[in-house]
């Protein structure tokens, strides 16, 4: 269970780190903590997995990774754990999840593939297919971003 202090720290950290010489000192002041204790708490949250990563989140479209394909795979259930592991090992894959099939939706493994062009995404998907021995897949390109925001927790 998260304490009230944990939640207060999370609220502060999702506002963004201040761009001042001693950012943790400034945040610690607002939280009634000393600087070193706040830094220690953040390290603990990373160890606990509450914070997946501490640093900058970038807009990858601005950095030339303009083609982003959701590649969905229909993998036999008995192979999905193995195949997920294989695909996760590829640099071109940023995310890899197993998800349930649904009526009208036969695909149970999802990978996000990023590239400079669609051809690059297609080649990457082809390599994944070959490495994992899975033939049934589709690339779903995003044609429009309707929303992208950061979740705000405990508010």
């Amino acid at each position: 269970m998260l304490s009230e202090l944990d939640k207060a720290i999370i609220r502060e950290l999702q506002d963004g780190l201040p761009l001042v010489s001693r950012p943790f000192l400034q945040l610690a002041g607002r939280l009634g903590l000393v600087e070193d204790d706040l830094i220690e708490k953040i390290k603990q949250m990373i160890d606990q997995g509450l914070i997946r990563r501490f640093g900058a989140a970038v807009r990858h479209q601005d950095l030339g990774f303009v083609a982003n394909a959701m590649v969905v795979w229909d993998v036999p259930d008995e192979r999905v754990m193995e195949v997920g592991g294989i695909m996760a090992g590829f640099e071109a894959v940023s995310h890899c999840y197993r998800r349930p099939r649904q009526p009208g939706w036969p695909y149970n493994l999802f990978t996000m593939v990023h590239g400079q062009t669609r051809e690059e995404c297609e080649r990457a998907a082809g390599r994944l297919a070959g490495a994992a021995g899975v033939e049934s897949y589709r690339l779903l390109y995003s044609t429009s971003e309707l929303k992208k925001s950061t979740m705000r927790y405990f508010e």
């Binding site: 943790f24 501490f54 989140a57 950095l63 589709r138 929303k147 992208k148």
Partner: protein, 149 residues
């Protein structure tokens, strides 16, 4: 436009932001810059939107939140209206159109399973459309930093 120094700085702060009292000074030292220049560059990239946020990237599941990927089949002429309904929920963090019969794909996060179901039922009721839910059952990889060099 980003120059090479921006790219090196971005690579560092995506992966390895220093958890020390004076993080920007440490970054400056490893890049051969002044602390002020590091602060200026980060500030500029935040303003330009290259950096969406600097801080903690949280794991919603570890914090007790529930989330799922969802997909809908929306007729082209209703996309604006349906996106308005879906995007109005703060827990909807991403929404993309994709090339498929299921053309609207969004993720939603809520503080409990019950609240998640409530949001999805509200979307169904307000649009009259089906929403399929595809929650992650196994996570094999989440990498959110990009190598820029």
């Amino acid at each position: 436009m980003l120059d090479n120094t921006d790219r090196r700085l971005l690579n560092l702060i995506q992966a390895d932001f220093p958890l020390t009292p004076e993080p920007y000074r440490l970054l400056a030292e490893s890049l051969g810059l002044s602390e002020e220049e590091v602060l200026d560059r980060i500030g500029r990239m935040c303003e330009e939107g290259v950096i969406r946020r600097l801080g903690g990237i949280f794991d919603s599941r570890q914090m007790g939140y529930s989330g799922t990927l969802c997909a809908m089949r929306v007729e082209p002429e209703r996309i604006g209206e349906v996106a308005g309904v879906v995007n109005a929920f703060p827990g909807v963090t991403h929404n993309y159109l994709r090339e498929h019969d299921y053309n609207m794909w969004f993720t939603v996060i809520a503080e409990s399973r019950a609240r998640l179901d409530e949001i999805l039922n509200a979307v169904r009721a307000r649009t009259g459309l089906e929403v399929i839910t595809l929650p992650a059952e196994n996570v094999f990889k989440i990498r959110v930093n990009f190598d820029l060099e």
